[in-house]
């Protein structure tokens, strides 16, 4: 059975949603993520644009403001829960690793 969209998040999806805990302009996310991750993670402009559209369609984010051609977004309750679920999943992975290897 195919996995539901966003049932698990890629690194890029995870950090985009994280950036939207507070209202943020879409374009600015491109600079925020490398700063947040010390350059470890970067998102392509095309990938960012498409993911923001998909998060909006899924109701995980909401558009807050339009300034000319710049649109701002914020996380919704659904988006927050999705992020929380992903955090829990990753935490289990980390805990299982720590239990076995430490």
């Amino acid at each position: 059975m195919p996995r539901a969209r966003f049932q698990t998040l890629t690194e890029q999806m995870f950090y985009i949603l994280l950036c939207l805990k507070e209202e943020c302009c879409g374009i600015d996310i491109m600079d925020k993520i490398p700063d947040m991750t010390a350059g470890r993670v970067s998102v392509g402009s095309g990938t960012l644009y498409n993911l923001l559209e998909q998060f909006l369609e899924e109701g995980m984010t909401a558009q807050t403001r339009i300034d000319g051609r710049r649109r701002s977004y914020i996380l919704t309750e659904k988006g927050r829960k999705t992020l929380e679920a992903e955090y829990q999943r990753l935490k289990w992975l980390v805990d299982d690793y720590a239990r076995i290897f430490r």
């Binding site: 890629t10 392509g44 402009s45 990938t47």
Partner: protein
């Protein structure tokens, strides 16, 4: 030294990696890609340098957008923020370049990239499938209606047979493209998810080019079968005129109508009008090409070289120099119909002979063709006021060297000089101004039975 050049590289839509490598190589040689022009790909001279190119697919772009939409401009802004400069687009395909040493690619999620390409292509594939299926259904309905009227008229009509074959091929190619795309999508998505990299798609280029060649050959064969080999020139000229007319017309429409829906409607309307004009042209001109007419001297007889297989000279010993004949041929891979008129042109000559040869190339339709030819009947009123029906009735076939033979009339005592003779793969209907004797019937049988 020139500063602009136009090139037509042999590159395909699917060969994205090939296009990128080609553009980057040109930049290293001092030529920067500047867009698609009427003469080809436009390049302007620059200082040779390393430039990165990227080709991405914007799924919401449409050929009916006369100006970039807000969404597309926003997408360009995102790319520009990362240093990617927009160069050119071809509907959904967007081409960017970046002069940074190691720019972040525009697409960093290969699975998402595959999904985007899939959405773009799915729209085109579904449209193509629906369009070819509609035309095939239309041809099917026309063909069925023609079949109900006369199977012989239908299967000797080169235009109908060719168009039916052409649209069937077009539909088959559309189905193959759809199937090929589906297999590509499922395979590439799986590989992208596993490897984290967008896989190269070299085989798609080859498959796409093979299908394009098959379609081009189908169109050429179509024109050849409809109009004959010299009619291909007419067909190619027609296509060139249409293409040359469509490009400025479509640009003019885009410039006048700054509205997606209006542009779409007007484009559909003009395309339908052009299709109607082509169909009318083909209907009017094709009969002049598809039927081979012949008459001596130097007459063309499609199968029997310079003269018909049977003439009054064979039966009456008339002087060949006084023999006159004419007729025409209609032929397809299913049936061939030859209609011949022969007579001797000397003073007081009364002997005339007309005949139709139906050559049946598919044995399965033999009986149906025979039934259709035998269906003819006519009604007349006798001197006593009785209504009489004339039709084909069975006669002895052996004198004619045939499998079956029929004569037109009421019975053997009241009949006309019209016969229907059935051979192995020929049905011959002969009308003579005289009643052939046994020897003449034998000659006819020897000619047609062989």
């Amino acid at each position: 030294m020139r500063n602009i050049k136009y090139v037509r590289p042999f590159l395909n839509f699917y060969n994205r990696e090939g296009i990128i490598r080609y553009l980057e190589k040109q930049a290293r040689k001092g030529w920067m890609f500047a867009g698609f022009g009427g003469l080809g790909w436009k390049f302007r001279r620059i200082e040779p340098k390393e430039v990165h190119f990227s080709i991405v697919y914007f799924k919401d772009a449409s050929v009916y957008d006369s100006v970039p939409t807000q969404e597309l401009i926003e997408f360009w802004d995102y790319c520009a923020h990362a240093g990617w400069v927009f160069v050119e687009s071809s509907v959904n395909m967007q081409i960017f370049y970046n002069e940074s040493e190691a720019p972040t690619p525009i697409e960093t999620d290969p699975v998402l990239e595959v999904e985007n390409m899939h959405k773009v292509e799915k729209k085109k594939i579904v449209t193509e499938l629906i369009r070819t299926l509609c035309f095939l259904a239309f041809m099917g309905i026309c063909g069925y209606m023609a079949y109900r009227r006369s199977i012989i008229d239908l299967l000797t009509n080169r235009v109908m047979v060719s168009l039916g074959f052409g649209w069937a091929m077009a539909f088959l190619i559309a189905v193959i493209r759809a199937a090929e795309h589906y297999f590509w999508y499922t395979s590439v998505k799986r590989r992208a998810a596993r490897s984290g990299v967008f896989p190269e798609s070299g085989s798609r280029t080859v498959i796409s080019q093979i299908l394009d060649c098959v379609l081009a050959v189908t169109v050429l064969v179509l024109f050849a079968s409809m109009f004959g080999w010299k009619g291909i020139v007419f067909g190619v000229l027609l296509l060139v005129v249409i293409l040359l007319a469509c490009i400025p017309i479509s640009r003019w429409i885009s410039d006048q109508l700054y509205d997606h829906q209006k542009t779409k409607l007007v484009t559909y309307g003009i395309a339908a009008a052009i299709m109607l004009v082509i169909i009318m042209l083909v209907s009017v001109l094709a009969p002049h090409f598809q039927v081979d007419q012949f008459a001596p001297p130097g007459s063309r007889w499609a199968r029997y070289k310079q003269e018909p297989p049977l003439s009054t000279a064979d039966l009456l010993g008339a002087d060949e120099a006084e023999l006159r004949y004419s007729g025409w041929v209609e032929e397809t891979p299913f049936l061939a119909r030859f209609e011949v008129y022969t007579y001797a042109d000397y003073p007081n000559a009364a002997e005339k002979m007309d005949y139709t040869i139906l050559e049946i190339k598919i044995p399965a339709i033999y009986n149906q063709c025979k039934s259709e030819m035998m269906e003819q009947s006519s009604v007349r009123v006798s001197e006593t006021g009785e209504i009489i029906t004339e039709r084909y009735f069975s006669i002895a076939a052996a004198p004619w060297g045939a499998k079956e033979a029929f004569q037109y009339g009421i019975d053997e005592t009241d009949c006309r000089n019209v016969w229907l003779l059935c051979y192995e793969d020929l049905i011959v209907e002969i009308t003579m101004s005289f009643d052939p004797d046994e020897e003449q019937r034998l000659i006819i049988g020897q000619i047609f039975a062989n």
